[in-house]
Protein backbone atom coordinates (compact mmCIF):
# COMPACT_ATOMS: atom_id res chain seq x y z
CA UNK A 1 0.00 0.00 0.00
CA UNK A 2 2.96 2.30 0.21
CA UNK A 3 2.34 3.30 -3.41
CA UNK A 4 -0.63 5.42 -2.38
CA UNK A 5 1.44 7.55 -0.05
CA UNK A 6 1.95 10.85 -1.86
CA UNK A 7 -1.58 11.20 -3.22
CA UNK A 8 -3.61 10.86 -0.09
CA UNK A 9 -1.43 11.22 2.95
CA UNK A 10 -3.94 10.98 5.74
CA UNK A 11 -6.49 8.26 5.05
CA UNK A 12 -6.42 5.53 7.63
CA UNK A 13 -5.44 2.91 5.07
CA UNK A 14 -2.47 4.91 3.86
CA UNK A 15 -1.32 5.53 7.43
CA UNK A 16 -1.58 1.86 8.30
CA UNK A 17 0.27 0.94 5.12
CA UNK A 18 3.11 3.29 5.95
CA UNK A 19 3.15 2.10 9.55
CA UNK A 20 3.61 -1.52 8.50
CA UNK A 21 6.53 -0.71 6.21
CA UNK A 22 8.28 1.71 8.57
CA UNK A 23 11.21 -0.02 10.20
CA UNK A 24 11.69 2.50 13.03
CA UNK A 25 8.01 2.32 13.91
CA UNK A 26 7.86 -1.49 13.97
CA UNK A 27 11.04 -1.94 16.03
CA UNK A 28 10.16 0.93 18.36
CA UNK A 29 6.62 -0.32 18.89
CA UNK A 30 7.87 -3.85 19.55
CA UNK A 31 10.42 -2.75 22.19
CA UNK A 32 7.92 -0.40 23.84
CA UNK A 33 5.26 -3.11 24.01
CA UNK A 34 7.72 -5.62 25.48
CA UNK A 35 8.74 -3.17 28.22
CA UNK A 36 5.12 -2.25 28.91
CA UNK A 37 4.14 -5.92 29.05
CA UNK A 38 7.02 -6.60 31.45
CA UNK A 39 5.78 -3.82 33.70
CA UNK A 40 2.17 -5.07 33.56
CA UNK A 41 3.12 -8.67 34.26
CA UNK A 42 5.13 -7.55 37.30
CA UNK A 43 1.87 -6.57 39.00
CA UNK A 44 0.74 -10.22 39.01
CA UNK A 45 3.90 -12.23 38.74
CA UNK A 46 7.66 -11.95 38.94
CA UNK A 47 10.07 -14.89 38.78
CA UNK A 48 11.04 -14.29 42.42
CA UNK A 49 9.69 -12.26 45.31
CA UNK A 50 11.88 -9.17 45.61
CA UNK A 51 10.72 -8.34 49.12
CA UNK A 52 12.35 -11.49 50.49
CA UNK A 53 16.06 -11.21 51.10
CA UNK A 54 17.85 -14.54 50.77
CA UNK A 55 21.40 -13.93 51.90
CA UNK A 56 22.54 -17.43 50.92
CA UNK A 57 21.73 -16.53 47.30
CA UNK A 58 23.56 -13.21 47.28
CA UNK A 59 25.48 -12.06 44.19
CA UNK A 60 24.84 -15.15 42.12
CA UNK A 61 25.99 -14.74 38.52
CA UNK A 62 23.37 -15.23 35.78
CA UNK A 63 22.11 -18.83 35.72
CA UNK A 64 19.09 -20.79 34.54
CA UNK A 65 17.31 -20.05 37.82
CA UNK A 66 18.29 -16.37 37.96
CA UNK A 67 18.59 -15.24 34.34
CA UNK A 68 20.15 -11.90 35.27
CA UNK A 69 21.77 -13.07 38.53
CA UNK A 70 21.06 -11.81 42.05
CA UNK A 71 22.11 -8.70 43.97
CA UNK A 72 23.87 -8.20 47.31
CA UNK A 73 20.66 -9.04 49.19
CA UNK A 74 20.03 -12.18 47.15
CA UNK A 75 17.18 -10.55 45.23
CA UNK A 76 16.51 -11.70 41.66
CA UNK A 77 17.70 -8.99 39.22
CA UNK A 78 15.19 -9.87 36.50
CA UNK A 79 12.30 -9.52 38.96
CA UNK A 80 13.69 -6.17 40.12
CA UNK A 81 14.04 -4.96 36.53
CA UNK A 82 10.41 -5.89 35.85
CA UNK A 83 9.20 -3.91 38.84
CA UNK A 84 11.64 -1.12 37.95
CA UNK A 85 9.99 -0.92 34.51
CA UNK A 86 6.65 -0.30 36.18
CA UNK A 87 8.20 2.43 38.22
CA UNK A 88 10.06 4.15 35.36
CA UNK A 89 6.98 4.07 33.14
CA UNK A 90 4.72 5.44 35.88
CA UNK A 91 7.04 8.37 36.63
CA UNK A 92 7.64 9.27 32.97
CA UNK A 93 3.99 8.78 31.97
CA UNK A 94 2.60 11.01 34.73
CA UNK A 95 5.28 13.61 33.96
CA UNK A 96 4.22 13.59 30.29
CA UNK A 97 0.59 13.80 31.46
CA UNK A 98 1.37 16.92 33.50
CA UNK A 99 3.22 18.46 30.55
CA UNK A 100 0.43 17.71 28.07
CA UNK A 101 -2.41 18.47 30.46
CA UNK A 102 -1.13 21.96 31.20
CA UNK A 103 1.02 22.71 28.15
CA UNK A 104 -1.41 21.82 25.36
CA UNK A 105 -4.32 23.97 26.65
CA UNK A 106 -1.90 26.85 27.21
CA UNK A 107 -0.39 26.53 23.75
CA UNK A 108 -3.80 26.25 22.08
CA UNK A 109 -5.10 29.19 24.06
CA UNK A 110 -2.10 31.31 23.04
CA UNK A 111 -2.62 30.37 19.39
CA UNK A 112 -6.37 31.02 19.47
CA UNK A 113 -6.19 34.37 21.25
CA UNK A 114 -2.99 35.82 19.83
CA UNK A 115 -2.05 39.35 20.89
CA UNK A 116 -0.70 40.08 24.32
CA UNK A 117 -1.93 36.81 25.86
CA UNK A 118 0.07 34.88 23.28
CA UNK A 119 3.10 37.10 23.86
CA UNK A 120 2.88 36.84 27.65
CA UNK A 121 2.41 33.08 27.64
CA UNK A 122 5.28 32.52 25.27
CA UNK A 123 7.66 34.78 27.20
CA UNK A 124 6.74 32.89 30.35
CA UNK A 125 7.45 29.73 28.41
CA UNK A 126 10.89 31.03 27.44
CA UNK A 127 11.56 31.67 31.11
CA UNK A 128 10.91 28.09 32.19
CA UNK A 129 12.71 26.86 29.10
CA UNK A 130 15.87 28.74 30.05
CA UNK A 131 16.06 26.81 33.31
CA UNK A 132 18.29 23.79 33.07
CA UNK A 133 15.67 21.09 33.63
CA UNK A 134 17.64 18.28 35.22
CA UNK A 135 19.51 20.73 37.41
CA UNK A 136 16.26 22.21 38.65
CA UNK A 137 14.81 18.75 39.17
CA UNK A 138 17.82 17.92 41.35
CA UNK A 139 17.18 21.07 43.34
CA UNK A 140 13.42 20.45 43.67
CA UNK A 141 13.91 16.90 44.89
CA UNK A 142 16.75 18.01 47.17
CA UNK A 143 14.62 20.69 48.79
CA UNK A 144 11.28 18.93 49.03
CA UNK A 145 12.76 15.59 49.90
CA UNK A 146 13.74 12.72 47.64
CA UNK A 147 10.74 10.73 46.45
CA UNK A 148 9.18 9.41 43.27
CA UNK A 149 6.32 11.93 43.59
CA UNK A 150 8.69 14.89 43.75
CA UNK A 151 10.65 13.47 40.82
CA UNK A 152 7.42 13.29 38.79
CA UNK A 153 6.52 16.89 39.62
CA UNK A 154 10.03 18.14 38.89
CA UNK A 155 10.17 16.37 35.52
CA UNK A 156 6.55 17.26 34.72
CA UNK A 157 6.99 21.00 35.25
CA UNK A 158 9.68 21.12 32.60
CA UNK A 159 7.49 19.23 30.15
CA UNK A 160 4.91 22.02 30.23
CA UNK A 161 6.76 24.60 28.09
CA UNK A 162 7.77 21.90 25.60
CA UNK A 163 4.17 20.87 24.93
CA UNK A 164 2.95 24.47 25.00
CA UNK A 165 5.44 25.35 22.29
CA UNK A 166 4.58 22.37 20.09
CA UNK A 167 0.83 22.86 20.53
CA UNK A 168 1.04 26.58 19.76
CA UNK A 169 3.19 26.11 16.66
CA UNK A 170 0.91 23.33 15.42
CA UNK A 171 -2.27 25.26 16.15
CA UNK A 172 -0.96 28.39 14.41
CA UNK A 173 -0.42 26.36 11.24
CA UNK A 174 -3.97 24.96 11.38
CA UNK A 175 -5.91 28.16 12.11
CA UNK A 176 -5.56 29.70 8.60
CA UNK A 177 -6.90 26.53 6.92
CA UNK A 178 -10.14 26.69 4.97
CA UNK A 179 -12.00 24.13 7.05
CA UNK A 180 -11.41 26.28 10.11
CA UNK A 181 -12.83 29.24 8.22
CA UNK A 182 -15.82 27.09 7.36
CA UNK A 183 -16.26 26.11 10.99
CA UNK A 184 -16.12 29.76 12.03
CA UNK A 185 -18.65 30.66 9.34
CA UNK A 186 -20.89 27.96 10.79
CA UNK A 187 -20.80 29.91 14.03
CA UNK A 188 -18.54 27.72 16.12
CA UNK A 189 -16.62 29.45 18.90
CA UNK A 190 -12.85 29.41 19.25
CA UNK A 191 -12.89 26.97 22.14
CA UNK A 192 -15.10 24.54 20.26
CA UNK A 193 -13.00 24.80 17.09
CA UNK A 194 -9.89 24.14 19.16
CA UNK A 195 -11.37 20.99 20.66
CA UNK A 196 -13.09 19.69 17.53
CA UNK A 197 -10.63 20.65 14.80
CA UNK A 198 -7.31 21.97 16.08
CA UNK A 199 -6.42 19.31 18.62
CA UNK A 200 -7.26 16.32 16.37
CA UNK A 201 -5.11 17.86 13.65
CA UNK A 202 -2.08 18.42 15.86
CA UNK A 203 -2.48 15.09 17.67
CA UNK A 204 0.32 13.50 15.64
CA UNK A 205 2.75 16.28 16.62
CA UNK A 206 1.77 15.88 20.26
CA UNK A 207 2.15 12.12 20.03
CA UNK A 208 5.67 12.42 18.62
CA UNK A 209 6.66 14.96 21.27
CA UNK A 210 5.01 12.72 23.86
CA UNK A 211 7.26 9.78 23.00
CA UNK A 212 10.34 12.06 23.09
CA UNK A 213 9.43 13.48 26.49
CA UNK A 214 8.53 10.01 27.72
CA UNK A 215 12.03 8.83 26.81
CA UNK A 216 13.64 11.89 28.40
CA UNK A 217 11.51 11.33 31.50
CA UNK A 218 12.80 7.79 31.83
CA UNK A 219 16.39 9.02 31.53
CA UNK A 220 15.74 11.79 34.07
CA UNK A 221 14.08 9.42 36.55
CA UNK A 222 16.99 7.01 36.24
CA UNK A 223 19.49 9.83 36.82
CA UNK A 224 17.59 11.16 39.83
CA UNK A 225 17.21 7.70 41.35
CA UNK A 226 20.89 7.01 40.69
CA UNK A 227 21.91 10.01 42.81
CA UNK A 228 19.37 9.01 45.45
CA UNK A 229 16.81 11.74 44.75
CA UNK A 230 14.16 9.75 42.89
CA UNK A 231 12.46 6.50 43.77
CA UNK A 232 13.46 5.37 47.25
CA UNK A 233 14.49 1.87 48.30
CA UNK A 234 13.22 -0.76 48.92
CA UNK A 235 11.14 -0.01 45.80
CA UNK A 236 13.34 -1.28 42.95
CA UNK A 237 14.26 1.29 40.32
CA UNK A 238 16.72 1.07 37.45
CA UNK A 239 18.73 4.10 38.51
CA UNK A 240 18.99 2.95 42.10
CA UNK A 241 20.05 -0.54 41.01
CA UNK A 242 22.94 1.00 39.08
CA UNK A 243 23.96 2.99 42.13
CA UNK A 244 23.97 -0.16 44.27
CA UNK A 245 25.88 -2.04 41.56
CA UNK A 246 28.66 0.53 41.43
CA UNK A 247 30.38 -0.48 44.66
CA UNK A 248 30.39 -4.21 43.82
CA UNK A 249 31.02 -3.86 40.11
CA UNK A 250 34.40 -5.59 40.20
CA UNK A 251 32.96 -8.82 41.64
CA UNK A 252 29.47 -8.63 40.15
CA UNK A 253 29.54 -6.74 36.84
CA UNK A 254 26.15 -8.18 35.76
CA UNK A 255 24.49 -6.03 38.38
CA UNK A 256 25.65 -2.94 36.48
CA UNK A 257 24.92 -4.41 33.06
CA UNK A 258 21.25 -5.39 33.04
CA UNK A 259 19.54 -2.34 34.57
CA UNK A 260 21.53 -0.12 32.19
CA UNK A 261 20.46 -2.25 29.22
CA UNK A 262 16.85 -1.91 30.39
CA UNK A 263 17.11 1.90 30.40
CA UNK A 264 18.93 1.96 27.06
CA UNK A 265 16.43 -0.35 25.34
CA UNK A 266 13.37 1.45 26.68
CA UNK A 267 14.63 4.87 25.65
CA UNK A 268 15.79 3.52 22.28
CA UNK A 269 12.39 1.93 21.68
CA UNK A 270 10.52 5.15 22.48
CA UNK A 271 12.83 7.26 20.31
CA UNK A 272 12.43 4.87 17.37
CA UNK A 273 8.66 4.87 17.89
CA UNK A 274 8.64 8.69 17.85
CA UNK A 275 10.77 8.81 14.67
CA UNK A 276 8.46 6.24 13.11
CA UNK A 277 5.27 8.11 13.98
CA UNK A 278 6.58 11.37 12.59
CA UNK A 279 7.65 9.57 9.37
CA UNK A 280 4.25 7.98 9.00
CA UNK A 281 2.34 11.22 9.34
CA UNK A 282 4.73 13.32 7.31
CA UNK A 283 6.61 11.06 4.90
CA UNK A 284 7.94 13.94 2.81
CA UNK A 285 9.76 15.56 5.72
CA UNK A 286 12.28 12.75 6.03
CA UNK A 287 12.47 11.26 2.59
CA UNK A 288 13.60 14.46 0.93
CA UNK A 289 16.18 13.59 -1.77
Amino acid sequence: MSGTVPGNPSTLGALAGRALTNRSFIIGLFITLVVAAMALVSFFWTPFDVTRLIVADRMQPPSSAHWFGTDHFGRDVLSMIMIGARNSIAVALVAVGIGMGVGVPLGCWAAARGGWIDEALMRFNDLIFAFPALLSAIMITAVFGPSAINAIIAIGIFNIPVFARVARAGALSIWPREYILAARAAGKGKARITVEHIIPNIANLLLVQGTIQFALGILAEAALSYVGLGTQPPMPSWGRMLFDAQTVMIVAPWLALFPGCAILLTVLGLNLLGDGISDIFDPRARRRP
Binding site: A130, A133, L135, V143, L264, V267, R288
Partner: protein, 315 residues
Protein backbone atom coordinates in the same frame (compact mmCIF):
# COMPACT_ATOMS: atom_id res chain seq x y z
CA UNK B 1 19.94 42.54 14.87
CA UNK B 2 20.50 45.00 17.71
CA UNK B 3 16.83 44.85 18.62
CA UNK B 4 16.98 41.07 18.54
CA UNK B 5 20.03 40.95 20.79
CA UNK B 6 18.51 43.48 23.15
CA UNK B 7 15.42 41.31 23.42
CA UNK B 8 17.51 38.22 24.15
CA UNK B 9 19.50 40.16 26.72
CA UNK B 10 16.30 41.28 28.45
CA UNK B 11 14.90 37.75 28.46
CA UNK B 12 18.18 36.48 29.89
CA UNK B 13 18.15 39.09 32.65
CA UNK B 14 14.48 38.44 33.43
CA UNK B 15 15.15 34.72 33.63
CA UNK B 16 17.95 35.33 36.09
CA UNK B 17 15.71 37.46 38.29
CA UNK B 18 12.87 34.93 38.19
CA UNK B 19 15.33 32.12 38.85
CA UNK B 20 16.72 33.92 41.88
CA UNK B 21 13.21 34.52 43.27
CA UNK B 22 12.23 30.89 42.72
CA UNK B 23 15.43 29.55 44.28
CA UNK B 24 15.13 31.92 47.21
CA UNK B 25 11.48 31.10 47.89
CA UNK B 26 12.05 27.40 47.51
CA UNK B 27 14.60 27.44 50.28
CA UNK B 28 12.28 29.56 52.41
CA UNK B 29 9.65 26.85 52.53
CA UNK B 30 12.14 24.19 53.48
CA UNK B 31 11.57 22.83 56.95
CA UNK B 32 14.47 23.29 59.37
CA UNK B 33 16.04 26.40 60.85
CA UNK B 34 19.55 27.08 59.53
CA UNK B 35 20.57 28.66 62.84
CA UNK B 36 19.45 25.53 64.66
CA UNK B 37 21.34 23.38 62.14
CA UNK B 38 24.54 25.38 62.69
CA UNK B 39 24.39 25.28 66.47
CA UNK B 40 23.29 21.70 66.85
CA UNK B 41 20.55 20.18 68.95
CA UNK B 42 22.04 21.15 72.33
CA UNK B 43 21.94 24.91 71.81
CA UNK B 44 19.49 26.90 73.89
CA UNK B 45 16.56 28.85 72.43
CA UNK B 46 18.31 32.14 73.27
CA UNK B 47 21.50 31.16 71.46
CA UNK B 48 19.56 30.17 68.37
CA UNK B 49 17.61 33.43 68.50
CA UNK B 50 20.85 35.41 68.76
CA UNK B 51 22.34 33.65 65.74
CA UNK B 52 19.10 34.15 63.80
CA UNK B 53 19.50 37.87 64.46
CA UNK B 54 23.14 37.83 63.39
CA UNK B 55 22.34 35.92 60.22
CA UNK B 56 19.52 38.37 59.46
CA UNK B 57 16.95 35.58 59.49
CA UNK B 58 14.50 37.71 61.48
CA UNK B 59 14.32 40.38 58.79
CA UNK B 60 11.27 40.58 56.52
CA UNK B 61 11.32 38.28 53.47
CA UNK B 62 11.80 41.02 50.90
CA UNK B 63 14.74 42.54 52.78
CA UNK B 64 16.41 39.16 53.00
CA UNK B 65 15.83 38.52 49.30
CA UNK B 66 17.34 41.86 48.32
CA UNK B 67 20.32 41.28 50.62
CA UNK B 68 20.86 37.87 49.15
CA UNK B 69 20.45 39.09 45.55
CA UNK B 70 22.89 41.95 46.16
CA UNK B 71 25.33 39.38 47.53
CA UNK B 72 24.92 37.24 44.42
CA UNK B 73 25.78 40.16 42.15
CA UNK B 74 29.03 40.78 44.03
CA UNK B 75 29.74 37.02 44.22
CA UNK B 76 29.25 37.12 47.98
CA UNK B 77 27.00 34.15 48.62
CA UNK B 78 27.26 34.10 52.38
CA UNK B 79 28.75 31.46 54.63
CA UNK B 80 28.27 27.73 54.43
CA UNK B 81 26.21 26.44 57.38
CA UNK B 82 28.36 23.37 57.87
CA UNK B 83 31.86 24.48 56.88
CA UNK B 84 31.57 28.04 58.25
CA UNK B 85 33.65 29.34 55.36
CA UNK B 86 32.42 31.69 52.62
CA UNK B 87 30.52 29.74 49.96
CA UNK B 88 32.55 31.46 47.25
CA UNK B 89 35.73 29.80 48.55
CA UNK B 90 34.11 26.36 48.35
CA UNK B 91 32.83 27.14 44.87
CA UNK B 92 36.23 28.34 43.62
CA UNK B 93 37.89 25.19 44.89
CA UNK B 94 35.40 22.98 43.04
CA UNK B 95 35.06 25.12 39.94
CA UNK B 96 38.58 24.24 38.78
CA UNK B 97 37.44 20.63 38.47
CA UNK B 98 33.95 21.05 37.00
CA UNK B 99 34.71 23.80 34.51
CA UNK B 100 37.61 22.02 32.74
CA UNK B 101 35.51 18.85 32.72
CA UNK B 102 32.56 20.57 31.03
CA UNK B 103 34.81 22.32 28.51
CA UNK B 104 36.73 19.15 27.61
CA UNK B 105 33.44 17.27 27.22
CA UNK B 106 31.95 20.01 25.03
CA UNK B 107 35.06 20.15 22.84
CA UNK B 108 35.19 16.38 22.58
CA UNK B 109 31.54 16.04 21.64
CA UNK B 110 31.86 18.73 18.96
CA UNK B 111 35.03 17.18 17.53
CA UNK B 112 33.30 13.81 17.28
CA UNK B 113 29.86 14.96 16.18
CA UNK B 114 30.63 17.38 13.35
CA UNK B 115 32.79 14.97 11.28
CA UNK B 116 30.25 12.17 11.79
CA UNK B 117 27.43 14.48 10.75
CA UNK B 118 29.40 15.48 7.63
CA UNK B 119 30.24 11.85 6.87
CA UNK B 120 26.63 10.70 7.20
CA UNK B 121 25.15 13.61 5.27
CA UNK B 122 27.58 13.11 2.38
CA UNK B 123 26.47 9.47 2.14
CA UNK B 124 22.82 9.91 3.03
CA UNK B 125 20.75 6.83 2.41
CA UNK B 126 23.80 4.61 1.97
CA UNK B 127 25.30 2.02 4.31
CA UNK B 128 27.76 4.41 6.01
CA UNK B 129 24.96 6.83 6.84
CA UNK B 130 22.65 4.10 8.13
CA UNK B 131 25.38 2.62 10.32
CA UNK B 132 26.47 5.99 11.72
CA UNK B 133 22.90 6.99 12.52
CA UNK B 134 22.14 3.62 14.11
CA UNK B 135 25.09 4.12 16.44
CA UNK B 136 23.93 7.68 17.12
CA UNK B 137 20.43 6.41 17.90
CA UNK B 138 21.93 4.14 20.57
CA UNK B 139 24.11 6.97 21.88
CA UNK B 140 21.07 9.21 22.33
CA UNK B 141 19.38 6.53 24.44
CA UNK B 142 22.46 5.88 26.58
CA UNK B 143 22.24 7.20 30.15
CA UNK B 144 25.60 8.93 30.64
CA UNK B 145 26.11 7.69 34.20
CA UNK B 146 25.67 4.09 33.05
CA UNK B 147 28.05 4.66 30.17
CA UNK B 148 30.46 6.04 32.78
CA UNK B 149 30.18 2.82 34.81
CA UNK B 150 30.92 0.73 31.72
CA UNK B 151 33.94 2.90 30.91
CA UNK B 152 35.24 2.49 34.46
CA UNK B 153 34.86 -1.25 34.20
CA UNK B 154 36.67 -1.53 30.87
CA UNK B 155 39.40 1.11 31.13
CA UNK B 156 40.05 1.30 34.86
CA UNK B 157 39.26 -2.20 36.16
CA UNK B 158 40.19 -4.37 33.18
CA UNK B 159 42.85 -2.44 31.31
CA UNK B 160 44.06 -0.31 34.22
CA UNK B 161 44.84 2.57 31.87
CA UNK B 162 43.31 5.33 33.98
CA UNK B 163 42.23 5.73 37.58
CA UNK B 164 38.67 4.60 38.38
CA UNK B 165 37.91 7.77 40.28
CA UNK B 166 39.19 10.54 42.47
CA UNK B 167 41.14 13.61 41.50
CA UNK B 168 44.78 14.30 42.41
CA UNK B 169 44.36 18.07 42.07
CA UNK B 170 46.04 20.35 39.55
CA UNK B 171 48.93 20.67 42.01
CA UNK B 172 49.93 17.09 41.16
CA UNK B 173 50.75 18.21 37.64
CA UNK B 174 48.66 18.64 34.52
CA UNK B 175 49.02 15.08 33.22
CA UNK B 176 47.75 13.11 36.25
CA UNK B 177 44.92 15.60 36.63
CA UNK B 178 43.93 15.33 32.98
CA UNK B 179 44.15 11.55 33.19
CA UNK B 180 41.57 11.61 35.98
CA UNK B 181 39.27 13.71 33.79
CA UNK B 182 39.52 11.57 30.64
CA UNK B 183 36.86 8.96 31.45
CA UNK B 184 34.36 11.44 32.92
CA UNK B 185 34.77 13.67 29.87
CA UNK B 186 34.25 10.79 27.44
CA UNK B 187 31.21 9.58 29.40
CA UNK B 188 29.69 13.05 29.17
CA UNK B 189 30.73 13.72 25.60
CA UNK B 190 29.66 10.63 23.67
CA UNK B 191 25.90 10.69 24.41
CA UNK B 192 25.95 14.43 23.67
CA UNK B 193 27.91 13.82 20.47
CA UNK B 194 25.22 11.37 19.32
CA UNK B 195 22.55 14.08 19.58
CA UNK B 196 24.77 16.67 17.93
CA UNK B 197 25.72 14.32 15.08
CA UNK B 198 22.04 13.72 14.30
CA UNK B 199 21.29 17.43 14.28
CA UNK B 200 24.36 18.18 12.15
CA UNK B 201 23.39 15.54 9.63
CA UNK B 202 19.77 16.72 9.44
CA UNK B 203 20.84 20.36 8.98
CA UNK B 204 23.38 19.40 6.31
CA UNK B 205 20.89 17.27 4.40
CA UNK B 206 18.54 20.26 4.38
CA UNK B 207 21.27 22.59 3.08
CA UNK B 208 22.57 20.12 0.48
CA UNK B 209 19.22 20.36 -1.31
CA UNK B 210 19.77 24.09 -1.97
CA UNK B 211 20.50 25.55 -5.39
CA UNK B 212 23.80 27.16 -4.40
CA UNK B 213 25.21 23.74 -3.53
CA UNK B 214 24.36 22.51 -7.02
CA UNK B 215 25.96 25.67 -8.45
CA UNK B 216 29.13 25.09 -6.45
CA UNK B 217 29.26 21.47 -7.63
CA UNK B 218 28.49 22.51 -11.23
CA UNK B 219 31.41 24.94 -11.34
CA UNK B 220 33.64 22.01 -10.43
CA UNK B 221 34.20 22.53 -6.73
CA UNK B 222 35.18 19.24 -5.08
CA UNK B 223 32.59 17.68 -2.78
CA UNK B 224 34.85 17.96 0.25
CA UNK B 225 35.28 21.69 -0.21
CA UNK B 226 31.55 22.15 -0.84
CA UNK B 227 30.78 20.32 2.38
CA UNK B 228 33.12 22.32 4.57
CA UNK B 229 32.88 25.74 2.96
CA UNK B 230 29.25 26.00 1.91
CA UNK B 231 27.17 23.27 3.49
CA UNK B 232 28.59 23.22 7.00
CA UNK B 233 28.64 26.98 7.33
CA UNK B 234 24.99 27.23 6.36
CA UNK B 235 24.01 24.32 8.57
CA UNK B 236 25.74 25.81 11.57
CA UNK B 237 22.81 27.74 13.07
CA UNK B 238 20.71 24.76 14.18
CA UNK B 239 23.92 23.05 15.28
CA UNK B 240 24.89 26.03 17.44
CA UNK B 241 21.39 26.20 18.91
CA UNK B 242 21.58 22.59 20.01
CA UNK B 243 25.08 23.09 21.39
CA UNK B 244 23.75 25.92 23.53
CA UNK B 245 20.92 23.74 24.82
CA UNK B 246 23.34 20.92 25.40
CA UNK B 247 25.45 23.05 27.65
CA UNK B 248 22.67 22.95 30.23
CA UNK B 249 22.53 19.17 29.95
CA UNK B 250 26.29 19.04 30.18
CA UNK B 251 26.29 20.96 33.46
CA UNK B 252 23.58 18.76 34.95
CA UNK B 253 25.42 15.74 33.56
CA UNK B 254 28.65 16.96 35.15
CA UNK B 255 26.90 16.96 38.51
CA UNK B 256 25.80 13.35 38.07
CA UNK B 257 29.04 12.11 36.50
CA UNK B 258 31.16 13.64 39.26
CA UNK B 259 29.36 11.32 41.63
CA UNK B 260 30.30 8.30 39.54
CA UNK B 261 33.99 9.21 39.57
CA UNK B 262 34.16 10.78 43.04
CA UNK B 263 35.47 13.98 41.49
CA UNK B 264 35.57 16.89 43.96
CA UNK B 265 33.65 19.25 41.67
CA UNK B 266 30.55 21.40 42.03
CA UNK B 267 28.34 18.34 41.67
CA UNK B 268 29.88 16.60 44.66
CA UNK B 269 29.64 19.85 46.57
CA UNK B 270 25.92 20.10 45.82
CA UNK B 271 25.21 16.55 46.89
CA UNK B 272 27.24 16.81 50.05
CA UNK B 273 25.41 20.05 50.80
CA UNK B 274 22.06 18.36 50.14
CA UNK B 275 22.76 15.55 52.59
CA UNK B 276 23.99 18.03 55.19
CA UNK B 277 21.01 20.36 54.56
CA UNK B 278 23.56 23.11 53.84
CA UNK B 279 21.02 24.89 51.68
CA UNK B 280 22.92 28.12 51.16
CA UNK B 281 25.54 26.14 49.26
CA UNK B 282 22.85 24.40 47.21
CA UNK B 283 21.15 27.65 46.24
CA UNK B 284 24.42 29.38 45.41
CA UNK B 285 25.63 26.61 43.14
CA UNK B 286 22.25 26.28 41.43
CA UNK B 287 22.15 30.04 40.84
CA UNK B 288 25.67 29.99 39.42
CA UNK B 289 24.84 27.16 37.05
CA UNK B 290 21.59 28.78 35.93
CA UNK B 291 23.55 31.97 35.26
CA UNK B 292 26.13 29.99 33.29
CA UNK B 293 23.40 28.42 31.16
CA UNK B 294 21.82 31.81 30.46
CA UNK B 295 25.16 33.39 29.54
CA UNK B 296 26.04 30.51 27.21
CA UNK B 297 22.68 30.80 25.46
CA UNK B 298 23.28 34.52 25.01
CA UNK B 299 26.69 33.74 23.51
CA UNK B 300 24.98 31.32 21.13
CA UNK B 301 22.57 34.05 20.07
CA UNK B 302 25.54 36.35 19.48
CA UNK B 303 27.39 33.71 17.52
CA UNK B 304 24.51 33.48 15.03
CA UNK B 305 25.57 36.90 13.83
CA UNK B 306 29.17 35.76 13.46
CA UNK B 307 28.18 32.72 11.45
CA UNK B 308 25.54 34.37 9.33
CA UNK B 309 26.42 37.85 8.01
CA UNK B 310 22.82 38.30 6.82
CA UNK B 311 21.67 38.50 10.43
CA UNK B 312 24.00 41.43 11.14
CA UNK B 313 22.21 43.77 8.77
CA UNK B 314 18.65 42.52 9.09
CA UNK B 315 16.34 45.05 10.68
Amino acid sequence: MTAYLLKRLLIGAATLVVASVVVFLMLEVVPGDPARVMLGMNASEAQVELLRDQMGLNQPLIVRYLDWARGLLSLDFGKSYTYSVPVIDLVKERFVVSFPLAIIALALSTLIAIPIGLFAAARRGRAGDTAAMAVAQIGVAMPNFWFALLLVYVFAVWLRLVPAGGFPGWGAGAWPALKALVLPAVALALPQAAILARVTRAALVEVLGEDYIRTARAKGMPMRAVMWRHALRNALIPVLTIMGLQFAFLLAGTIIIENVFYLPGLGRLVFQAITQRDLIVVESVVMLLVAAVIVVNLLVDLSYALVDPRLRTRQ
